[in-house]
Amino acid sequence: MNVSLLVMSEPYSSQSSLSALKYAKAALSAGHGIKRVFFYHNGAHTGSALQTPQQDETNIQQEWADLSNTHNLDLVICIAAALKRGNLTADEANRYDREQHNIHAPFELSGLGQLLDAQLNSDQLITFA
């Protein structure tokens, strides 16, 4: 199967943020394809590279980035949801005249059309809310 994930839960606040990560790992190790992971709503915080959890806690941004680098996962954060919550790439920081940015590759910012594309072109869209 080819699946996509819609992650709307906030990292560290909601168990489902970690469940999404575990689901992605399980799906990949079972031989399924992941077309895209789309982060929306409070999930837009997932890509912040400034996350600094305690040493005995999972760094959720880092785990997604590692998984993406190993499996070439497409990690897309909704640009509107990200910008208003203060999650910017260098390009967007430049565009909106902000001094800092916290979103790096393999995460990217894009529009909701990427969620529609994921839904239309996957066998299943699995929501983590």
Partner: protein, 119 residues
């Protein structure tokens, strides 16, 4: 490639931005020529209440966002009779014309869809 997509709105209009962000997905999908149906389920029916005034809580009016749906050819809006009754509401309390269906009709509505997503 036009598909039938059902989007389910489950939350009350304010308190969480999920209602607003759900409608943003409805508008995006409709702009890409998908055949969208919208089901307001549970507390989601509160999004349709007439006479919303959200100015004092510094949020955009959810009903105003829903009123543009016909311009995007999103005309299949559904609520269940049971969800209205349980909240002491009637169709005339709502600010938009919607199809009031029975809870038992939700399953056949779901079965007609190619894709379903809930907010």
């Amino acid at each position: 490639m036009t598909k039938n997509i059902l989007i389910i709105q489950r939350t009350a209009p304010y308190g969480s931005s999920l209602a607003r962000e759900g409608i943003d997905y409805v508008l995006t999908s409709a702009a890409y020529d998908q055949n969208i149906s919208l089901l307001f389920l549970g507390d989601g029916v509160f999004q349709l209440l007439a006479n919303q005034n959200s100015k004092d809580i510094q949020l955009k009016n959810q009903l105003s966002a829903l009123e543009v749906l016909p311009l995007y050819d999103v005309e299949n809006l559904y609520v269940t009779e049971e969800d209205l009754t349980e909240r002491n509401l009637q169709a005339e309390n709502l600010g938009l014309k919607v199809n009031v269906i029975s809870r038992a009709s939700v399953h056949p509505l779901l079965s007609k869809q190619d894709h379903v997503v809930g907010f």
